[in-house]
């Protein structure tokens, strides 16, 4: 049993680190831009500090920037240094991980896009509500720290931005990230495998409360949470639990709570958590019945939350090899790059701290050298900072087109899934089905968004073809799980028919 818990925790933490690496990297970059390019005044202006639009503006910026609940920690720390009020910093820290352009587009492919828009609006209510109440309860939370001396233009400025990330990753930010990840370990210790398969049912009045208990220590990326919210609607699970998952699962983690307490003290930090939980749970219970999809027959269980539980049973064997194989299988090339970069930040940061005893590198960078050369134009740091943030937003828009390819490319990918899943269905190969069915399902979402962002529209007819395909795929999955050969064979044919209809609708009718 202990072995299952140990290796289960290793697997869950590794998965979280792999998923978080790219968005932590973005968070470090944004923190560096705030510190070295925008400066305190520019950062305050960006968030409209001291104005009435401060909280909604924090919500809006948070919606656009692609960071997760771990990646937002260095950004929040920088905002606090700039003298932004605690309510706004915490509002941003909570919203930024909730949505990003990719997850928002994914959300619009769900069966009820209106629900996702309602969720986005509800998060604004949460964020502004929590922020306003917190600022009123604990006024004068803004404390400006001394601003670092400006760095000369050119490579020095770029190095200085990198060093901000390196220092964060070898200091307090790393500590808070580790505290955040400890929640993942806690869940894999406490929740046995498959423990949440029936907990989040609409019929369970404790579902939103239970989800709040799971989602706060859990770590999840915006996209994963959005796909889980989609799955919850597909399974007619508790809508309130879905909202709690979105707000607390993607938005908060133990590291963020620890940072809030460390920054603002026990009373204020826990006060924020209590107000947040009260508002999230109030909204969750308020929307439970009005937004429940009555037309869907609940299947009675879901595998969507298996990732928050221990991955292995007590009788599992050869766990180190299984963990290694799973990590190798899941890690994407861009995640490897991000992990390497994070590792480099940690090493460089540790080196900088060792060097600090003799010389602080930043002091050298901050020394003023000669003026600009004739062909060099000295672009003011705030202009560069604003441009860099705009480029970051631009990259995330381009990222949407890469993540959601054209229908032709999607169906090229689906050709592989089709072969794998249908043969898994015919041969009752559970492992193969469990691996490829979720991927095929995910590609249908990408198909819908890819068509929508290229053609500007997605007809209800196309939506329905994709939905029917996903539903049939779900039935096939359950038939394979239950080992019913006849039913599996029947569903192989049904899935394939639905697939060909969807394909014809998205490809042949263009």
């Amino acid at each position: 049993m202990l072995e299952a818990i140990f290796w289960g925790s290793i697997l869950r933490v590794s998965q979280a680190v792999i998923q978080a690496a790219p968005t932590i990297l973005v968070g470090l970059l944004v923190a560096g831009i705030f510190r070295r390019l925008l400066g305190h005044e520019g950062t305050r202006r960006l968030f409209g500090a001291g104005t009435r639009r401060e909280l909604p503006q924090a919500w809006l910026i948070g919606m656009i920037l692609p960071v997760c609940s771990l990646g937002v920690i260095p950004v929040a720390r920088e905002m606090r240094r700039a003298g932004i009020s605690g309510g706004t910093v915490l509002a941003f820290a909570l919203t930024a991980p909730l949505f990003n352009p990719i997850s928002m587009l994914y959300g619009l492919t769900l069966s009820a896009p209106l629900v996702i828009l309602s969720f986005a609006f509800a998060t604004m209510v949460v964020v502004t509500g929590v922020g306003s109440i917190w600022d009123r309860l604990f006024p004068n939370s803004a404390v400006t720290e001394p601003e670092p001396a400006p760095v000369d233009f050119g490579y020095k400025r770029m190095l200085a931005i990198g060093f901000v990330g390196a220092r964060e990753m070898s200091g307090a930010t790393l500590l808070y990230i580790l505290i955040g990840l400890s929640g993942v370990v806690l869940l894999s210790i406490v929740l046995p495998s498959n423990a949440l398969q029936t907990t989040m049912e609409h019929s369970n009045p404790f579902a939103p409360l239970a989800m709040a208990g799971v989602a706060l220590p859990a770590y999840s990326t915006p996209l994963v949470v959005m796909s889980q919210v989609g799955s919850m609607f597909q399974h007619a699970n508790s809508v309130g639990a879905a909202f709690a998952l979105l707000t607390l699962g993607a938005g908060a983690n133990l590291g963020l709570v620890a940072w809030g307490i460390a920054c603002y003290g026990w009373k204020r930090g826990l006060g924020w958590l209590v107000v947040l939980l009260a508002i999230v749970l109030s909204i969750s219970y308020a929307i439970e019945y009005p937004l429940h999809p009555r037309e869907i027959e609940p299947p009675g269980h879901t595998h969507a939350f298996d990732i928050y539980c221990r991955p292995f049973d007590a009788d599992s064997s050869d766990l180190p090899a299984i963990v290694k194989a799973k990590i190798d299988e899941e890690v994407q090339p861009y995640e490897r790059v991000a992990l390497t970069a994070l590792g480099a930040f940690v090493v460089v940061g540790a080196g900088l701290r060792l060097l600090d005893r003799r010389v602080r590198i930043e002091d050298l960078l901050e020394r003023k050298s000669g003026g600009a050369r004739r062909i060099d134009v000295d672009v003011p740091a705030p202009v560069l900072g604003a441009s860099a943030l705009l480029v970051l937003v631009g990259i995330s828009i381009v990222g949407c087109y890469l993540y959601y390819p054209s229908p032709e490319e999607v169906f090229d990918e689906m050709r592989i899934m089709r072969g794998e899943v249908l043969t898994a269905g015919l041969s009752l190969n559970h492992k193969q089905a469990a691996q490829y069915i979720p991927i095929w399902d995910d590609w249908t979402r990408r198909l819908q968004v890819g068509a929508f962002i290229r053609e500007g529209t997605l007809s209800p007819y196309r939506r329905m073809k994709a939905k029917i395909f996903r539903d049939r795929l779900e039935f096939l999955k359950h038939a394979i799980e239950e080992g019913d050969a006849d039913e599996s064979r029947e569903y192989v044919a049904i899935v394939d028919t639905a697939y060909l209809r969807m394909r014809r609708e998205f490809l042949d009718k263009r």
Binding site: V190, N204, F206
Partner: protein, 172 residues
């Protein structure tokens, strides 16, 4: 569902009983396993759905005006009406006709609910429902056989698994 299963995550939230939930608590999962089940009253295809709706409309229409309609019958009628877009989409019905079916689904389900909620003269909502059903029957009457290939001659038509993707049409 047993209370311990429901409350397990809540216990996590409290972090009071770290070992309060063991794998053994969930050993009965397979016995409790509830797969996706297709309700018995879900029609297999659009023609069957439309004739079910017609039959239910007749049943509602023939009920004495002072007698309330049984709740389970109303639920069945509303279910069938709401399934219309999905059932129609699970065929080769063209987009134009599917849009008509999709547009009719909510008004038909509301009409059933209105009839059930009306005590007294139900002739107006019944007439409205009848008009909607006639629109659907018109679609069925002009349907090409290829639109509902799975139910040709009233029987499911098997199709070979893994046909080439170039034959993107769904007709077997």
């Amino acid at each position: 569902m047993r209370p311990s299963t429901r409350l397990a995550p809540l216990l996590v939230a409290c972090a009071a009983i770290l070992a309060g939930c063991s794998a053994d608590d969930h050993d009965d999962h397979d016995e409790d396993h509830i797969g996706h089940e297709i309700p018995a009253h879900k029609p297999r295809d659009l023609p069957q759905a439309v004739s079910s709706i017609r039959a239910l409309a007749r049943e509602f229409g023939s009920a004495p005006s002072q007698t309330p309609i049984a709740r389970d019958r109303v639920e069945i009628a509303v279910d069938v009406a709401r399934w219309l877009p999905e059932i129609a989409g699970d065929s080769d019905l063209p987009e134009k006709e599917w849009n008509l079916v999709n547009d009719a689904a909510i008004p038909i389900s509301k009409a059933f609910e209105t009839i059930a909620a009306t005590t007294g003269d139900r002739s107006k909502p019944i007439a409205e429902l009848d008009a909607r059903i006639r629109d659907l029957e018109a679609i069925i009457s002009r349907a090409e056989p290829a639109w509902f290939p799975e139910m040709r001659n009233g029987r499911p038509v098997p199709r070979p698994a893994l046909p080439a993707e170039s034959s993107a049409g769904a007709t077997p």
